[in-house]
């Protein structure tokens, strides 16, 4: 009986202990999947224009998420055609929304392009939850507008995924859309008025655009269609299953990867280091978990940088390899849309080619970059300041590091030369030789190959930091640290590059503000020096409106006449999709 009691007690105690997966890596078990929807100002464009977008993140019910709930802070947008990825962006989300633009390079060929959007967290769901829509881009110099839409027979039977036809209006109108007039002269001011007819005080997150009639593709999904099509792909996490491999990026960008051995098998318990080439000694490390996975949460310090990943080999190198998970990778094939643009739409594209040519000739741009606030960055420093710093240029020129250590750095000794060279440090506190080889950093990056750097002389070196202490950094112990900073980091680093897996990170994409010229309604201002050939009369990507509120948005007509469509799209806090359109005419 005593044995049973002991076993039971042990079992309870074991279960009550905090669970650790191989030390530390346990992804957060959110059970609420995410989805996102992208509105664009148009869907037919000409190369050389900006494609403006707004992005809304919501959970699996379509709700915007309550304020207590954690949501992703970054989304990834990919623009591609059937052959290749054209561009991608990492977009910073503020309370689940963002807006910006893709510049469509002049060299893009005529044809269909796909914009897809997702968060890191959405990667845990089927890729069916990724938002996808098509745009049609015409090359500015393509007079024939020749493009591939696939096999003509196939086109007849083609449908896009689970998408539904574009709605003409929301079934139940939550918002009243009123335009100040239906016909406007050129270069005048008008107003789009949005009245929230919702009960209670919940919010709506809306986007309004005014673009030429025919600027939208018939087959692209509305938010309602996207929600119904993707709902079946959402899955809650099964607590008994393996943790989700992709983290929700609530605090910063997370870089994940896997370590495998020479047979391609996952290697748990391996230590992966990450450093950025810099004038600071920085280091992050992560130990791989059961599936050989590792993850790094990155501060903005690591944005727009070249990062170097390597494996710490405590014994023999057994052929372990690091595989980084691509942030902007989509693993589903490009899907050609059903149908081709109508003749009216092709005519509109021809007109747009002329418009873009005028814009280019006069250097007209109607978008301002919204500058992000400067933020303090925090590298993962190994130490705050080195115990000794030497600037070789301040002394008599010396031929190589061997001479520099001999003459200047008393705490660092190198024995032998070339392949035979070994080095050791003296502890600054105890004044005793340390037993092991100090850890070496080259231009901020940890490396175990010091040899290429020993030949550098005073004229090659910026500084040498000697941190002559027995030093602990998390679970890593360093018997002294030597950091060499060169005047040409790239040149010298090329010699040891093969030991690393590199990654070039980007900055989060900048937000764009639509900035049209402003006109007074009563006195049209005709500026003959510069034309106003805007096709987009209004782009307001982020309107927050509460029940009972009215929002009035001014817009300005351009020199172009014709029929324009006013589109109101968005989602309410309760997950109800909003879609309304009205036609206005400019004469």
């Amino acid at each position: 009986m005593k044995t049973i009691v002991l076993l039971l007690t042990g079992f309870i105690v074991f279960q009550a202990l905090p669970q650790q997966a191989n030390g530390q890596i346990v992804p957060k078990d959110h059970t609420i999947p995410e989805g996102l929807f992208i509105h664009t100002d148009r869907e037919l464009l000409v190369a050389g224009e900006y494609l403006l977008f707004s992005l809304s993140l919501f959970n699996d019910n379509g709700r915007m998420g309550d304020k207590q709930q954690e949501i992703s802070r970054y989304a990834y947008l990919v623009l591609r055609n059937e052959h290749e990825m054209i561009d991608h962006q990492r977009v910073k989300l503020e309370n689940g929304s963002a807006h910006g633009g893709f510049y469509l390079e002049d060299t893009l060929s005529t044809g269909y392009y796909e914009i897809s959007g997702f968060t890191n967290w959405m990667r845990n769901q089927a890729s069916g939850t990724f938002f996808r829509k098509h745009i049609f881009v015409a090359n500015r110099f393509d007079e024939e507008l020749t493009f591939s839409a696939g096999n003509p027979e196939e086109i007849k039977n083609r449908t896009i995924d689970d998408g539904q036809p574009r709605e003409t209006a929301s079934p139940e109108k939550k918002f009243r859309l009123n335009i100040s007039d239906s016909i406007f002269p050129r270069r005048t001011r008008g107003y789009v008025n949005i009245e929230a007819d919702m009960q209670g005080d919940h919010q709506g997150r809306l986007t309004v655009s005014i673009a030429p009639e025919g600027s939208y593709l018939e087959h692209n999904p509305t938010l309602a269609a996207y929600l119904s099509a993707t709902a079946k792909h959402f899955k809650a996490h099964d607590p008994t299953a393996e943790p989700f491999p992709y983290f929700m990026e609530t605090k910063g960008m997370v870089i994940s990867g896997q370590v495998t051995d020479e047979n391609g098998q996952a290697v748990p318990g391996s230590r992966v280091t990450l450093s950025k080439q810099d004038t600071l000694v920085n280091l992050k490390y992560a130990d791989t978990c059961d599936g050989g996975l590792f993850h790094f949460l990155l501060d903005p310090y690591y944005d727009a940088s070249r990062l170097f990943f390597s494996i710490v080999h405590e014994g023999e190198n057994t052929g372990e390899t690091i595989h980084l998970f691509e942030k902007a990778e989509v693993d589903f094939p490009f899907a050609m849309p059903g149908g081709i643009p109508s003749q009216e739409q092709l005519d509109l594209l021809v007109k747009t080619q002329d418009v873009v040519s005028i814009q280019k000739a006069y250097g007209l741009n109607h978008h301002d970059i919204v500058k992000d606030k400067d933020k303090e960055v925090f590298p993962s420093l190994v130490y705050s300041r080195a115990n000794d710093i030497f600037y070789p240029e301040e002394y008599v020129p010396l031929n190589d590091v061997y001479e520099i250590t001999r003459e200047l750095i008393l705490s660092w000794r190198i024995r032998g030369r070339g392949e035979e060279a070994t080095h050791i440090m003296t502890d600054a506190t105890l004044r005793q030789r340390m037993n092991d080889t100090p850890v070496f950093f080259a231009d901020g990056v940890i490396t175990d190959n010091i040899l290429p750097y020993l030949e550098l002389g005073s004229e090659d070196l910026l500084k040498i930091e000697a941190h002559d202490f027995h030093w602990q950094y998390g679970n890593m112990y360093f018997p002294g640290i030597i950091s060499i900073f060169t005047k040409d980091p790239q040149f010298h680093f090329d010699q040891i590059r093969e030991n690393y897996v590199g990654l070039l990170t980007d900055n989060p994409a900048v937000a764009l503000r639509f900035a049209p010229p402003e006109y007074n309604k009563t006195t049209p201002q005709i500026n003959h020096e510069k034309p106003d050939a805007r096709q987009v009369l209004l782009w307001e990507p982020d309107i927050r409106i509460e029940g009972g509120q009215t929002v009035s948005l001014p817009f300005y007509t351009s020199d172009l006449n014709g029929r324009f469509v006013v589109t109101l799209q968005g989602i309410t806090e309760r997950g109800e999709p909003v879609f309304q359109q009205q036609i206005i005419e400019v004469q």
């Binding site: 009986m1 005593k2 009691v5 039971l8 007690t9 079992f11 309870i12 279960q15 009550a16 905090p18 669970q19 530390q24 890596i25 346990v26 992804p27 957060k28 078990d29 059970t31 607590p239 943790p243 983290f247 929700m248 609530t250 605090k251 997370v254 992050k284 490390y285 992560a286 993850h295 790094f296 949460l297 501060d299 925090f378 993962s380 420093l381 190994v382 130490y383 705050s384 300041r385 506190t429 202490f469 027995h470 030093w471 602990q472 950094y473 998390g474 679970n475 112990y477």
Partner: protein
């Protein structure tokens, strides 16, 4: 072993997997997997002394807040008032590590009697910041430098040899930081020194302290007085 006890054990055992599911749910990836790394020099402060070098003799669980705003929970931390250093005991190797304090913004030691929160503080005339315990932190702040100083030296037998052993005693220094940011050192604990920290309000403070029969002879009375003064000045400000 009664049948009741056995039944309770069985019930707990069956609940254990639920506990596991719960703990997995509440675990925050960004707090656990991505915790910042503590770094510092491996030290040996185990020299013979009479009197402790530490504010609290025991290793205590603590929370360390980095300059970056990230924080990490550690199982064993102490404040060494003799060397003015924060010492972390590594959970696996049990090495004692003097933390690189410039990377740290503040830390809290969770002593059973109280949670001692230490913040970076630059005393007037000092060239560098050191950690001071924040005893009170409202409109005005009361900070204590937890200095431990050598007051004497005795010769004692230690591991078979006669060695000179420093005699250590706590010598805290108190600083009042006014709402306007003016720093005043309370060189000796008494009413007058405290009143001087609030120029222009001396008379009101004297009245307040008399009213509450506070003579400021120890840290507890100083803390009580600062609390009352903050309340009084706050009300005047409103």
């Amino acid at each position: 072993m009664t049948r009741l006890t056995f039944t309770i054990l069985i019930a707990f055992a069956s609940l254990a997997p639920l506990k596991d599911a719960f703990s997995q749910t509440i675990r925050d990836s960004n707090n656990n997997a991505f915790s910042p790394r503590l770094s510092g020099e491996v030290v040996n402060y185990n020299v013979p002394t009479k009197g402790s070098q530490y504010l609290f003799q025991d290793w205590l669980p603590a929370r360390v807040l980095f300059q970056s705003g990230e924080s990490v929970e550690v199982a064993s931390l102490r404040y060494n008032g003799y060397h003015n250093t924060v010492v972390w005991r590594h959970p696996k190797t049990h090495r004692h590590i003097r933390l690189d304090d410039l990377l740290i913004k503040e830390f809290s030691l969770n002593h059973p009697a109280r949670t001692a929160r230490f913040v970076r503080f630059q005393a007037p005339g000092a060239t560098e910041t050191i950690f001071a315990e924040c005893l009170f932190d409202e409109n005005i702040r009361l900070l204590a430098l937890r200095n431990i100083e050598q007051t004497d030296q005795v010769v004692e037998s230690y591991v078979g040899t006669m060695v000179s052993v420093p005699v250590l005693e706590p010598r805290p220094e108190y600083y009042v930081v006014s709402a306007a940011g003016e720093v005043t050192r309370i060189s000796r604990l008494n009413r007058r020194n405290l009143e001087r920290a609030f120029p222009g309000n001396e008379r009101d403070i004297r009245r307040l302290l008399r009213q509450h029969n506070l003579r400021i002879r120890n840290e507890a009375e100083l803390l009580e007085a600062v609390t009352l003064i903050d309340d009084m000045l706050g009300q005047e400000g409103r």
